[in-house]
Amino acid sequence: MTEITLPFAPVEDTGAASYLDAGHTIASWLTTTDHKRIAILYALSITIFFFIGGAAIALVRLELIEPNGWFLTSDAYNRLFTLHGIIMVWFFLVPSIPATMGNFLLPLMIGARDVAFPRLNLLSWYLYVIGAAFTIYVLVAGGVDTGWTFYPPFSTNYSNGYVVAAATGVFVVGFSSIATGVNFIVTTHMLRAPGMTWFRLPLFAWSMYVVSLVMVLATPVLAMSLLLIVAERLFGLPVFDAAHGGDPILFQHIFWFYSHPAVYIMILPAMGVVSEVFACFSRRQVFGYAFMVYALLAIAVIGFMVWGHHMFVAGQSPLANLVFSFLSFIVAVPSAIKVFNWLATMYRGRISFEAPMLYALGFLGLFTIGGLTGLFLASVPIDVATTDSYFVVAHFHTIMVGGSVSAFMAGIHFWWPKVTGRLYSEFWAQFAAITMFLGFNVTFLPQFVMGWEGMPRRYHVYPDVFQVWHVISSGGAAILAVAYTLPLVYLGLSLVRGARAGDNPWHATGLEWQTSSPPPKENFRRVPRVEAGPYRYDAAGRPRPQGTPL
């Protein structure tokens, strides 16, 4: 980045006690109500689960090199992909950005001292830990083989895995989501700094608010669907039993009422992160800020009305298929608008290519591919042909891994100096970003191809005509594994020998950059007064901060 002289003096005296110095004992961390420390607790927990879920799928990809398998039984294989799904969805992706960056940054961005209910915030982490404990128990005890979707009657009457424990874990972790959601909603409504009007909120704060709405309104439905599965499996109640006039498809309706919006729980925060990154590294106001906000809201609301596109072959009525297909096309419009706006943000900017920007650019490309393949799956005939195949697998991994994880990495790199006060190795960060992008494409582009050719998902053994694609995909996965491990190393090293970051290393405009790095326990020594919207950069790319301290 070109050197930019700051038009304002640092507002905080650096060197003052940060939130990290507010106690060094384990107890001081486990009983903290500081949103920043809770964010760190979450970050550590989800990282552990990311690598457990990653290890599970590494074994799967290794096994798939041979069409008939070579070191796993079918039961073990089924347990591994189920575990991968459950862990990655509920113990990594759903809490990933909101519980870590959201927790850390939302109060900072809106100029609050903490979230609205700090103790509830800590409780939400403990709920996560309890849910995680159930999942670890399932893992150690012998796994579960239902797929992450828990479809009855397989899950209720036929599976010989630890379905009840697994469902309980997810049930509990769901309440951690709800607690976070309620907390963020109240925080955003009640605790904005003077002058921080709704349309001066950074888009990341907006995305946190919107995702909280989705969490609060969708997660309870998941909880109930799992509770019903447990009721049938544990107590033999005929909840979804067709022999008694019940309907297994009803479970799918309820489950997807949560699980489709869950996709938006994963992607909306990612959109928030890359909006921040694009603005900062293009040194330019986000193009169409208001449209970006409306698009977030539209996605969140319409996203609740499209769940039936997971059920085109399930036995839904043809009319319902058409309605859900139509609404799925509609929900794609605001997503497309966001892509155009990010592009337009770069137009006439001063673009530099630090690691966060590279990750964000990777997000842009992969999210576009993921979104476009979504159009295929919204079309009923194409969905009928490709659902339950690798085409679907590739599609949602492109959104969730190519999109959400890329954005998660972008955010981690963008705010790392703020969180830790240290700079990481830019070279290795850029190297990892590029490797991740390449590895991702090598892993998943072949899956689109074999999916269209008909390779069904959740297959342990497969026809050998697909072997070449599987081998390429597994090779890509190996590259991805390296790319995901690298940040652990260089970010870890930065903690001990990274250079001091300074308060605002990227010369960004948000309130979070106007306090010290790392921030003090109370976030701001003096409450900031907000005078303008976010992302103000002058023609030379100099930032004009959002507020000044009172």
């Binding site: 709405l213 439905v221 009525s317 009319l319 309605v323 859900f324």
Partner: protein
């Protein structure tokens, strides 16, 4: 700290009136259930339950005095329930 503190009666008067209304509605609802009205029974019972919940929400849960924001939040839960019921029944009612 010199404002007059209300007596217990003053506090209880409003809620007691609401209670009387709710109990009457309950009686009507239970009574109507025993009248052979065919398909109308369910409609009457649900309508009265809705009114009772409405009275409870407006007067006892203080929605009457709540901010617009709280009202929107309260309504959103119901709206989303309508999404769920509406689209689920789009499927069930159109199965051939």
């Amino acid at each position: 700290m010199s404002e007059r503190r209300p007596s217990v009666w003053e506090l209880a008067r409003g809620p007691a009136a609401v209670w009387a209304l709710l109990v009457v509605l309950l009686a009507v609802s239970a009574g109507s259930a025993y009248m052979p009205l065919g398909g109308i029974n369910a409609a009457v019972n649900l309508a009265i339950a809705t009114v009772m919940i409405g009275v409870l929400a407006v007067f006892l849960m203080n929605l009457r005095w709540a901010s617009t924001l709280v009202r929107i939040v309260a309504a959103s839960g119901l709206l989303w329930l309508v999404f769920m019921l509406g689209l689920t029944f789009t499927d069930y009612l159109s199965r051939p």
